[in-house]
């Protein structure tokens, strides 16, 4: 598996640390109810197919990336800087 880092170009999967589902970008408001926090921390869509997760370019530019990839084929579809994704949605 190879990931195309927007800063560094195509790099081996070993350079990246997997941080889990990109749900981390949708953090509930501080006063959200317990159910929202439970859902955010524990429950997952966990799709068999295209998913979005966060990868940290630990041995590269130290950027956090939102990687779109297929969990069934391991095909990597795209990688964007998490800062850009978060910024666009904020």
């Amino acid at each position: 598996m190879r990931i195309i880092c927007p800063n560094c170009g195509e790099r081996d999967r070993r350079e990246f640390y997997y941080v889990g589902d990109a749900v981390a970008l949708e953090r509930p408001a501080e006063d959200a109810d317990l159910a929202a926090w439970d859902d955010y921390i524990h429950n997952r869509e966990n799709p068999a197919g295209v998913t979005q997760d966060l990868w940290y370019h630990e041995m590269g530019c130290s950027a956090w990336l939102v990687v779109k990839r297929n969990t069934v084929t391991h095909e990597v579809l795209s990688a964007e800087l998490a800062a850009d994704v978060k910024g666009a949605g904020a």
């Binding site: 598996m1 081996d12 999967r13 070993r14 997997y18 941080v19 889990g20 589902d21 317990l34 159910a35 439970d38 859902d39 921390i41 524990h42 429950n43 997952r44 869509e45 966990n46 799709p47 068999a48 998913t51 997760d53 969990t71 069934v72 084929t73 391991h74």
Partner: protein, 417 residues
């Protein structure tokens, strides 16, 4: 058909013409008391114990592929009961006792071999932790023996005891741990359930779960709709997809775990050896292949095959622990899909839907759990009350924070186990 020494002799003398299929390949009826989704080890064991312990035989097991074609056929066959925390401890203890009576109970040779497991440690601190774990195992009623360095050497003379990074200080030996023939476990439970009247239905994919007014009514399948009073989801590896049919989002992330086998060799590794610091464990199959594995690939995956970095890591760990393994040639590698829960422990519980039950989240420990899981899930489905050894496998423990079972002590959060 009953298996016995006499039967083998008789069949041998009469051309082996009397052997029949081990179970009926049933077609779906329109209604059952209980429908079990998933014909793997846990689903088949649940069907067997529903029939045997509770007299519930109007049961269908629906399998989208073939019986035992999922994780029960893709694991590394290790059976042990060396857990530390209340909840896991009594459950795996119960499961190991069921393993010890399984062959007689099922009249089926599952090649259960209590060859012993040795878990190694490499520092004084680790020894203290292992002593604590060993005491927990003994207090639970299971066996654990502390081995010093020379004690380990007597059992495993081929290890690299003076490795610069991980010198071997000793190990915990559980003599009652071992291995079993994984496929035979599925087949034995299938046969036992089928003999008691359970319908085993293959090539039958569940496409929907019918719920009316919060009560389960049946399932939609690729072979038509089936009404059911109760439905159990027992599909580790696909739990999120099937639960979504009932409107549930589960605390599960699916990960791939790889395993490897070498060419057949003469007997050389007589135990199950676990090298936790290298995320490496190994045993030798009765056919002679060295069966070994490592850690998760560590990203969500349904691919049933992994990537090369973990292959390399596992081989390096093997070479670190037992340099002789470098002479063996790897024949095959494969992957299984693990239902990873936030705290690394499983779930056997009711769901918000009346009559719908959930068995999932086995992480990388599902195989040894097969008999205990089937026994406890059958109890839950039959009586609507949790079975004592599995009573702590609650679905709501993540929401409430009460009763989390985090064996590794890393926290109850995805991506930590």
């Amino acid at each position: 058909m009953r298996f016995s020494g006499f039967r083998i002799l008789k069949e041998g003398l009469t051309g082996n013409k009397g052997w029949a299929g081990h179970w009926r390949d049933a077609a779906p009826k329109s209604e059952y008391d209980v429908v079990i989704i998933g014909g793997g080890g846990h689903g088949l064991a649940t069907a067997y114990y529903l029939a045997k312990n509770h007299g519930i035989t109007n049961v269908a097991v629906l399998e989208k592929g073939y019986l035992g074609g999922g994780n029960v056929g893709r694991n590394t066959t290790i059976v042990r009961a060396n857990y530390f925390l209340p909840g896991n401890s009594e459950f795996y203890s119960h499961s190991l006792k069921l393993w010890e009576g399984m062959e007689e109970d099922l009249n089926y040779n599952v090649m259960h071999s209590q060859r012993g497991q040795i878990v190694l440690f490499h520092s004084d601190g680790q020894r203290d932790a292992m002593v604590r774990r060993g005491n927990a195992m003994v207090n639970q009623g299971d066996d654990a023996e502390l081995l010093d360095r020379e004690g380990v050497r007597r059992h495993l003379p081929y290890l690299d005891f003076d490795n610069a990074r991980f010198p071997i200080y000793g190990g915990i030996l559980q003599r009652r741990a071992g291995t079993a023939r994984h496929d035979a476990v599925a087949w034995g439970y299938a046969r036992g359930a089928s003999d008691r009247g359970v319908d085993l239905i293959q090539n039958c994919e569940v496409t929907g779960i019918d719920i009316e007014g919060g009560v389960v009514k049946g399932v939609q399948t690729s072979r038509g709709s089936i009404r059911a009073k109760k439905v159990a989801i027992i599909v580790a590896g696909r739990s999120s997809q099937v639960a979504a049919m009932a409107g549930m989002r589960l605390p599960i992330e699916s990960h791939v775990l790889q395993a490897f086998v070498t060419e057949g060799l003469k007997p050389v590794i007589n135990h199950v050896v676990s090298f936790g610091m290298g995320h490496f464990y190994i045993s030798q199959s009765d056919k002679g292949g060295l069966v070994f594995g490592g850690d998760l690939d560590m990203y969500a995956s349904y691919a049933a095959r992994g990537n090369l970095p973990i292959v390399e890591h596992v081989m390096e760990a093997g070479m670190t622990l037992m340099p002789m393994i470098g002479k063996a040639r790897v024949l095959r590698s494969w992957g299984g899909i693990m239902d990873m829960s936030p705290d690394g422990s499983p779930i056997i519980d009711k769901t918000p839907t009346t009559g719908l039950y959930l068995n999932c989240g086995w992480c990388y420990g599902g195989f040894k759990a097969v008999p205990g899981s089937g026994y406890s899930t059958a109890h839950l489905v039959a009586t609507d009350t949790p079975h004592e050894p599995a009573a702590r496998f609650r679905l709501d423990r993540f929401r409430t924070g009460r009763g989390l079972m985090d064996e590794e002590g890393t926290g109850s959060q995805h991506n930590l186990h």
